[in-house]
């Protein structure tokens, strides 16, 4: 397994945002994380790449324990890419520069090599002609595709997506899901928080259903969707599947 999470607790003051979460994720798996708002999905994702420090429990990624040292933490972050709901592109840099910055300063790639890799990835997400454009001049869907390419430029083994299409206008959702679908097809290990059930069913292997900081149900995607064991899951699914 490439990710192992054991008894993870994350508190914000009195609130237990994660209340004893355990799970394992195999290389090449696409895991869909579902759950009502505030159930801890984002917190779970952020604990996987060390953006939040866990209060107790362990997270092991690709054989590295997350809390060991700062340099391990940075290695883990190079192993895991994350795509945020709000894209978080660097607004002062062009699309190309967004992709080359970390390659140069973190991985020490030569400018030419970094550009070459960046260009290839921009092509892959269908935006090679936008390489010299700043994020402010890109649509939401284009920005999110650049953000995905930026993560991929680090050659991660795992990609995390936290509601990557929730901030997008409906007509732009498809182009982003398309890029993610390609990635899954290439065998990328992916953890995806999304309400796009069509995408989840098509691409996902497994569902983690969260509620109140716990994983309350987990299983193969068709099975959970067809007959959820937990009342909470059933209730939630009937809402999202209708909406």
């Amino acid at each position: 397994m490439i990710i192992q999470v054991k008894d993870v607790v994350k508190r914000f003051g009195d609130l237990r945002a994660l209340d004893g979460v355990s799970c394992t994720i195999e290389a090449g798996e696409v895991v869909i994380v579902l759950g009502p708002s505030g159930s801890g999905k984002s917190t779970f994702m952020r604990c996987l790449n060390g953006l939040e420090k866990v209060d107790s429990g362990v997270v092991i990624v690709d054989g590295m324990r997350l809390d060991h040292s700062k340099s391990d933490l940075r290695r883990i972050r190079q192993t895991i890419g994350i795509v945020f709901q709000q894209f978080n592109l660097f607004p002062h840099l062009t699309a190309m520069e967004n992709l080359t910055l970390a390659q140069k300063v973190v991985l020490g790639r030569k400018p030419d090599e970094a550009r070459e890799i960046a260009l290839e990835l921009l092509k892959k997400v269908g935006l090679s002609e936008k390489q010299d454009v700043h994020p402010a001049h890109l649509s939401g869907g284009q920005q999110q595709r650049v953000a995905i390419a930026r993560s991929l430029a680090m050659k991660p083994k795992i990609m995390l997506f936290d509601e990557p299409t929730s901030a997008l206008d409906p007509e732009m959702i498809g182009e982003v899901l398309e890029v993610m679908r390609d990635l899954a097809r290439e065998g990328m290990t992916m953890v995806v928080v999304t309400h796009e059930m069509g995408f989840a069913r098509e691409v996902g292997d497994r569902i983690l259903f969260m509620d109140q900081g716990r994983i309350v149900e987990e299983g193969r995607i068709e099975e959970v969707l067809k007959n959820p064991k937990e009342e909470r899951t059933r209730e939630f699914l009937s809402k999202v599947l209708k909406g």
């Binding site: 972050r77 945020f84 660097f90 910055l101 973190v106 402010a136 680090m154």
Partner: protein
Amino acid sequence: MGEWFIKELKTLGEILVFLVPAIPMTIKITLMAFAFALALGLFVGLSRVSPNKIFSIPSRIYVDVIRGIPLLVQIFFIYFGLGKILNLNQFVAGVAAVSICYSAYLGEIVRSGIQAIHKGQFEAAFSLGMTPVQTMRHVILPQAFPIVLPSVSNEFIATLKDSSLVSMIGLRELTRAGREYYSQYFVTFETWFVVGLIYLGMTFVLSRLASWMERRFRVHGWGMG
């Protein structure tokens, strides 16, 4: 009336000729003090936002203390107090005092500029494996720069004006030269009128320059309006 006017003009001209040689000193003090203040202020501002208390607490105390004491008192303290122990001349003491004072203000400006940047920018940079130093240098500070530019240019103009305070320890800059002229010839009104006019001319040039830079940045910026 006409005769009086011509006499006045002649006096003003004489004052101007007397004062002009002191202008380079004012400019020198301003430029040096502001350059040091910027470097120190950047350090203070970065320390203020550091998660490490070894940096954040001392820098906070530094800012509070420096901002709470009038510049003139700091100049006296550094020149007559420390200066006597460390054997500082007027120029070094004056520049040091102005630098330190303005580093506290600039430090606060830097801090507010950094804090104006969305948290997601830090998270994106960290997630790509960048260190805090790399994140500041390549992601945060370049974005904070246009935000703080107007405040920083205000401080630059203020430094120029406050450089007049070092006249009090006998450094012969513009204000000191004005005092010399007036104690020699007793033409109060005209002397301070010309001194004021010279300061006004310099600050006017600076503020034009500042708005040109701001405008230029907006045009060549990131198209974010």
